[in-house]
Symmetry: C2
Subunit: 291 residues, 2 copies
DNA sequence: TCGGATTACGTGCACCGTAATGATC
DNA sequence: GATCATTACGGTGCACGTAATCCGA
């Protein structure tokens, strides 16, 4: 076996043309490189260079060896890359969400349960989520529904209800409950990453205008400093303290009630038992549904 | 870059199952191997092993790494093999002969002219010889004829004449010359590697029997110790002293006269100039033909 | 108690860099 | 004189082996 650094040095020489230049590139002394090349020839048992007194050049076999060496070095680099990549994958739990709202809670939950693991999250629609669960690109996904397929294990973990968030001066501010159609035609502040709620709002309020906001804190500022109606949910309100004096009025449409299902491949169920357990402990309603 | 001996040691461990066994196989101490594996993990930045107190085993990534490593080691070994093989080829002159008789003289000639080169010889028929010259599997070939193709350079280098080698008591022993057909029906000793002469003999003496001999010295013994007629040539007689009292009678058939042509690709002509020159110096007859 | 892995420790040598030499332009 | 390769030489880091330790069957 010939150590790979000798081939590396050979390739450096081939690229640079002289031992001196290559030695500099390799951050070693010229004599060291000279000896390395002598050793490489010795270990191969083959002449790689034509040596004039003050000049050294690759001969035909040397050129061939350089081509082979370049190939070998690429091979090794790619191999190391693949190994590290697999390792990274093994140390990461990939999560898919149908809504961004749940991400923080899930990340902190999983970080606690699987110490040292990286938690990677993405938001996309249910169809993609199911597909990528199947391909094992996600280990867990948070869906709107239990998927039909038998290959998945699913557990309801959270529910969320939609509210309209009105300033006290708004004409509807004293309503006990509202249907979305009652709000049609108005202009709303809306979080752009709200996910599936977005579709519901546009369907039930075809004449409303939505001022989409990319940044949550910008949205918060606008809610505080404008009279524009906005939307929120019980889940969001429970976890954020609003500094505004707005009034939250529940939406009465049936679709304004959502249950989220944490889902994984059945084959991975045991691996994520701690996750599911943490939810069945916290909610008796969910425990009932599980049974 | 990770040195290849670390991968080699990893593979040895994978084959042996324990560090101790692998260390023995590698002829290093157990602690040395233990440290090497720690270092491999460190350089990869990846855990390869599950470590119990008194037991170490490959984990999933370790197994993957072993597969990759085996592959890399094969790659390197094959690469080194190819380099050495090309080197060997570059240090060898491959010669093809239509007759084995000329081999010793050519080998000694070329050994003298190209010091350090290995001379490799084969005997086959003219068609193969020309084909392999073209493929550069032979650098030189000794043919019966100048090949027609323009891609070759050819020079007549030797001529050979066939004789029948009779014991003094043979009825035809006092002939001045003989045609092969005069000898038909008799039984002959014949050197099995005689090449093209063989075909001539069988064609002109369809009723003769030939006792083929593989070994030249066995043939010599039989010639000395039997009354069976045999064949020889002037070329052979010039170079061997026969201890027998046999009489050599020239064969008068036209095909019993052969001229040999030393042939190479035109592109290689300069490389073999010394060979061709040595023949044009030695033989004025050939010099005439060359002109 | 033995076999296996890791840690501790001292040592040798392999490889490095500096310096000197030789050679070419 | 400048550049480049090789040889000479002295120093050092590092990888090795031995020994000790720990652990489990």
């Amino acid at each position: 076996m010939i150590e790979i650094h000798l081939f590396e040095q050979l390739v450096a020489f081939a690229s640079c043309g002289t031992l001196s230049a290559a030695a500099e590139e390799l951050h070693i002394s010229q004599p060291a490189l000279s000896r390395s090349m002598q050793r490489l020839e010795e270990e191969l048992g083959v002449q790689l260079f034509d040596r004039q007194k003050s000049r050294i050049t690759l001969n035909e076999i040397g050129e061939l060896t350089v081509r082979h060496a370049r190939n070998l070095l690429m091979q090794e680099a790619s191999m190391i890359e693949q190994i590290r990549e697999l390792d990274r994958k093994k140390r990461t739990i990939f999560l898919g969400f149908c809504t961004p709202v749940l991400i923080p809670d899930f990340v902190s939950l999983l970080s606690g349960l699987y110490e040292g693991m990286t938690i990677s999250t993405e938001v996309t629609d249910d169809i993609d989520l199911v597909q990528r669960l199947r391909e094992n690109k996600y280990q867990l996904a948070i869906l709107h529904d239990k998927p039909d397929e038998n290959e998945f294990f699913s557990l309801p973990v959270e529910s969320e209800h939609l509210y309209v968030f009105l300033p006290p001066a708004h004409p509807l501010a004293d309503a006990v409950g509202l249907y979305l159609k009652d709000l049609d035609g108005q202009t709303f502040l809306l979080y752009s990453q709200i996910g599936f709620w977005d579709g519901l709002c546009r369907r039930e309020m075809p004449n409303a205008r939505f001022l989409l906001q990319q940044e949550l804190n910008v949205l918060g500022e606008l809610i505080e400093n404008s009279a524009l109606p906005a939307f929120t949910t019980d889940y969001v309100m429970k976890r954020t303290q609003s500094r505004s004096d707005r009034i939250a009025i529940p939406i009465l449409d049936e679709e304004a009630n959502v249950t989220y299902y944490c889902t994984c491949l059945k084959s991975e169920k045991t691996k994520f038992r701690p996750v599911f357990q943490s939810f069945s402990k916290n909610s008796s309603a969910i425990r009932n549904e599980q049974a």
